[in-house]
Structure formats: C-alpha cells, structure tokens
C-alpha cells in the first residue's frame, strides 16, 4: 500500500511536467534480431513515461486444427485466466491476476486474429512499475495454468454470445459470406458450438507449446525505452518460452482457392433491413498491387461519402444509408467485399446497382479527377495514421509481420502519389472477377 502511495505521488509529478506535443518529424525505426531469434522493431518515443509492446506469433486462427475452430482464440483468452506456480512464485488465479495488473496500472491482453496470436502490453516506464509489469507479463506468457473449470464457463459464455450474435442479420450475413468466399480455407472457418465443445484445455497447452516459441516472435516496441533497454525487456518478456535453434518451420497453410462460378445465397430473416454482401477472395498483403488497390478501393467504396458506391446507391437513388467496399489482405487472400443494408423490398435493386458500379470500375478504372481527390485525401490524412504511440505500434507490428521495408512509412505517401489510373484498372482486373462473385442476401424480400 505504501508503495502505491509513493507511486501515486511520483506520477502526479510526472503528469504535471509532460508537454502536450508528441508529433513525429521522421520515423527512425530500429530493427534487429535477438539471440533467441525474436525479430525486434523499435521506435523510441521518449516524450511520455510509457511503453507499448506487441508480440506476434504465427498462431492465429489459420492454425486451428480441423474441427476445433476457435482454438487459437480460446488459447489467447485463457492466458488471462491464471498462472501456474513456479519455483518460489505462487500460482495466481484470474482474480489475483486482474488485481495485480490493476495495481500496476498496466494493461495486458492477448487475442488471436486470422494470422497472428498477439500479446499487447502497455505500462508506465516508472522503474518499479515497468519491472513489475514485464515480470508479470513474462509469467503469463510462459506459465498459463489453463484451468479446466474456467474454460468450461468461458465456453458456455462464448456459446451464449454466439447465439445472441446470430439473432442479428449482420452476423448471419458475415458468417455465410466468409464461408462461401473462402470455402474450406481456415479464413472461412469460424468457431461454432460444436467446434468449441471439441476444445479441451489439453489442446490449448499443446497449441501454446507448439506455436509460442521465441524464435518465431515478432516484437514491436514504441515508447520511452532506448535500444538497449528495449532488448533487455524483450528478452525478459520471452525468457520463459522455448527459443529453438534451429527454428523449426511450421507447415505451410494452403492458399485460398479462386472461385469458379457466381453463387447467390438468399437467407430468410425477419429484419427491418436486408443485409447484402458481395465479393470474392482478394489479395495477399505482400502483393505488389497493394498501393493501386488501396487507392482504387478508396474511390470504389472505401472513401465513405465520396465513393462511387455511395454516389450511386445512396446519393442518386436513396437505397441505403451505408454502402462500402473493402479488401482485407493477410498472409493469404482475405476477402474483397461490397456491403450494404437496405429496405428488404429494395435489396435486389440495390444489389443490381452495386454490381453495375463494380463491373464498370473494374472495366474502366477511375477518372483522373477521382484519382486526384483520393490521393489528396490519403496523403493529406496520412499523419493521422501515426499520431499516437498506439497507432505507431499498429503500423510497426504490421511491418514486422509482413516484413515490409523499414522505410515503408517514410515512402508511403510517395507510393500513393505514384499510382496511375492505368495501375488501378490493371490491378483491379487482375484481382477481381465480377462475373464469379459470391452474393449473400439476408432478409431480402423480392
């Protein structure tokens, strides 16, 4: 308790001395590989007494075993449910763990996306708090207790949440769409009651032991640590995990197969609005067309009120409040999707308009005026993608994960500026086949 008082007083002092400015002139990114094999990416940001650290492993849901969709997410979620005793360190249950993090004023979370299992730590760099947070995170990472009784409850809660989610037409549409676009690929394989029931804590232990190895860790650090301090803290964080040498390669995951024909799924649903999704597998994040597709999609349906889809579906015809398109590239070809909601009896009309917009855009590309406006917006708003440590960390971990060049952010606006109308048209023609897309309509009434 006394220690907490002292910390409070010291922090109040620190908070009073801070300047309000933390803007970046340039982005000096440091990158090196530690002795345990971890690839470390660092941006020193000394203006606030805090640090954000993200550790990514190749243990996202694409690694879920057949029949156990949800294992990666469950494993990540259960990391916060208790640590086992080791040596003279006592076991901590979920409540003791929650209290310990709150006492440190630090945040620690783990989650699994389709590619990565990510651990995120945010802590103050006041020495005793930093030390405490790193130690606790290291234990949580290396010695999770995976208590079976807690998993039984978490599973029930997850199943209940899934059931609730399925009462919403948007969820139903998203699920059906993901499955139809990705076929048997893990990107389309989402957790359900049966797959969750097939998961035991022993599976989590095995998953953890197999995939969480320092030799495959990508660690991104943004905050008030220099290179030597960052290295020391990262090694401390990973100390309890194996550091295999040589690093065993993980099995390759198959690519998303291209669609062979158009498919339309009409799902009855009694809802005030029909939900429509249309799309296909998109592209992989390391695709050389990345910038042409990013700028092009801004014009097609990513740019909100100024996009072609909004202009045609909403502004000209009043068919929808919201209509959009996106690509979600990852290690594999994540989806391209066009989405809209509309009155059930207008769904077919809105879909026809959206289809026509996509077809025309793929055939002809944007106009010079549209391209200019898109570049102005993307380049002008670029600083807003980097205006906090948290956003820098997101960018840094993305670079680390996809092994983008270290000057990626420095050259981002130039790369956008170089994109031409011809680039966009050619890229969209390479990636999209409007005649072979999946369409899901939930709650549409003809």
């Amino acid at each position: 308790m006394k220690a907490t008082h002292k910390i409070l007083r010291r922090l109040a002092l620190v908070a009073g001395l801070l300047s309000a400015s933390s803007l970046w002139a340039a982005l000096p990114i440091q990158h090196w590989t530690a002795a345990n094999g971890a690839r470390i990416y660092l941006v020193e940001s000394p203006s606030l007494p805090m640090v954000d650290i993200q550790i990514d492993f190749d243990a996202g849901s694409r690694r879920d075993p057949t029949g156990q969709a949800g294992l990666a997410s469950a494993t990540a979620g259960m990391l916060s449910k208790g640590i086992a005793a080791q040596g003279n360190q006592p076991a901590l249950d979920e409540n003791a763990l929650g209290e310990a993090w709150a006492d440190l004023g630090a945040l620690f979370s783990a989650s699994a996306g389709s590619d990565r299992l990510s651990l995120f730590l945010r802590t103050l760099t006041v020495p005793d708090l930093l030390e405490g947070a790193i130690r606790l995170a290291a234990r949580q990472l290396a010695q999770p207790s995976f208590p079976a009784a807690i998993w039984a409850i978490e599973r029930d809660r997850t199943v209940a949440a899934l059931k609730e989610a399925y009462t919403r037409p948007g969820t139903v549409a998203q699920r059906r769409f993901a499955a139809a676009v990705h076929g048997r690929h893990p990107y389309g394989n989402e957790a359900n009651e049966a797959s969750l029931n097939a998961i035991q804590v022993a599976d989590m232990r095995a998953f953890h032991a197999r995939f969480l190895d320092s030799c495959r860790a990508r660690v991104s650090v943004v905050g008030a640590l220099n290179r030597a301090q960052a290295e020391q803290r990262v090694l401390q964080l990973l100390a309890g995990l194996p550091a295999s040498k040589p690093c065993p390669a993980l099995p390759a995951v198959a690519e998303v197969p291209a669609l062979t024909q158009a498919q339309t799924l009409r799902v009855p649903f009694d809802s005030a609005q029909a939900h429509v999704l249309m799309g296909q597998p998109g592209y992989k994040r390391n695709d050389p067309d990345f910038f042409a597709l990013t700028v092009g999609n801004y014009i097609l349906g990513g740019g909100g009120f100024v996009s072609r889809l909004t202009e045609q579906v909403r502004e000209k015809r009043g068919l929808s409040y919201s209509v959009y398109s996106y690509f979600a590239p990852g290690l594999h070809a994540g989806p391209f999707a066009v989405g809209l909601q509309t009155r059930p009896d207008q769904a077919d009309q809105a879909l026809q308009v959206a289809r026509e917009v996509v077809r025309t855009f793929v055939a002809e590309g944007p106009t010079e005026a549209e391209l200019k406006a898109a570049k102005d917006n993307l380049i002008g708003s670029f600083p807003l993608r980097l205006d906090s440590n948290r956003k820098l960390l997101d960018n840094l971990s993305n670079m680390a994960w996809h092994q983008l060049p270290l000057d990626y952010l420095d050259t981002w606006t130039q790369a956008v500026d170089r994109v031409t109308v011809q680039d966009i048209r050619a890229a969209f023609q390479r990636k999209l086949q409007p005649e072979r897309m999946v369409t899901v309509m939930v709650g549409a009434k003809p």
Binding site: M1, L8, A20, M50, G98, A102, A149, I153, S388, R390
Partner: protein
C-alpha cells in the same frame, strides 16, 4: 464506485456475478459518465446466465450497490482504482484527440483526494429507488409468423420497473 464494481478483471461484479458454475450472469458491467455538467446516469447492466431470470440478475446487481452502501470499500480497492486512474491519465496523453477532449477538465487532480468513506456515502445517497429506472430486454422470435411477446408495460415513478 463504477471502477470498484467493474474497473478491472476480478473486480466486484466479476467475482459476485459472472464466475462459478452457479453464476447469475454471463456478463455484467457498471459505468458512469462523470464529465457532463448536469446529472449523469450511472448504469448497471448484465446478461443472465442460462437458467437464471432477469429478476435474479437485477437483485444481484442491486445487492452489489447495497454492499457498498452498507460496508463501504476497502483501502486496497481504493488504492488500486487510483493507481489505474493515474496511469490512465498518462496513457490518455498518447492520443491528440484525447488531449483536445481533456482540455478544460481537471478531474484527475481531484481523484487522489477521494476517500473510501465518500464512496460509501455516495452509494447511500444516490442509489434509492425513487431515482431508478429498470429495463429488461427479452428475446423476441426471429420468425415473423410467430406471435411476439407483448412488451413489458412501462411504468414510471415509484416501484422498481
């Protein structure tokens, strides 16, 4: 008070409502927006666990407020909540947007002065039934042909529902 109830994993609502095989709720929370000029709403909410009624959940939420009004909070809880707040005051400066939003509000300077006794007193003074609104959202059939359950009659004023 909202932080003691729901500010961290293992806080009071977690322990009392959402844990164990016989838990009353799958999810429970408390929040309060204290930055407005006028009176603000303090919300307690939850999703009943399978086999538990909304009434049982409501009673469990009320009991947690009553416990604070009756027994107060511990010094350890108070210090924990303050440690979190002070850390968050630093974290908030990471965002330009938050910095803009925070200008003109100096609440964090008053926080280290809050006492456990004040939290207890607030629980006693502000949480009476005369200022309480309770809403239950019941599942509706998703099939248009099935008859919908009538909405619960809305009553206002005295009483709890």
């Amino acid at each position: 008070m909202s932080a003691v109830l729901d500010g961290y994993n293992g806080s009071r609502l977690d322990r009392a409502l959402t844990q164990g095989a016989d838990r009353v709720a799958d999810d429970a929370g408390a929040y309060h927006d204290f930055s407005g000029r006028g009176p603000q709403i303090f919300v307690l909410e939850g999703v009943p666990a399978a086999g538990k009624t909304p009434e049982a959940l409501e009673a469990a939420l009320r009991e947690q407020v009553n416990r604070i009004a009756r027994d107060g909070i511990s010094e350890a809880e108070l210090q924990r909540v303050k440690a979190q707040w002070v850390a968050q005051a630093v974290y908030k400066r990471d965002s330009l947007f938050n910095q803009a939003r925070e200008i003109g509000t100096y609440w964090v300077e008053g926080l280290p002065l809050v006492t456990a006794e004040q939290v207890k007193s607030v629980a006693q003074r502000y949480f009476g039934d005369d200022s309480l609104t309770v809403a239950h959202l019941l599942p509706q059939p998703s099939n248009a042909q099935a008859p919908r359950k009538p909405a619960m009659p809305l009553r206002h004023g005295e009483g709890t529902r």
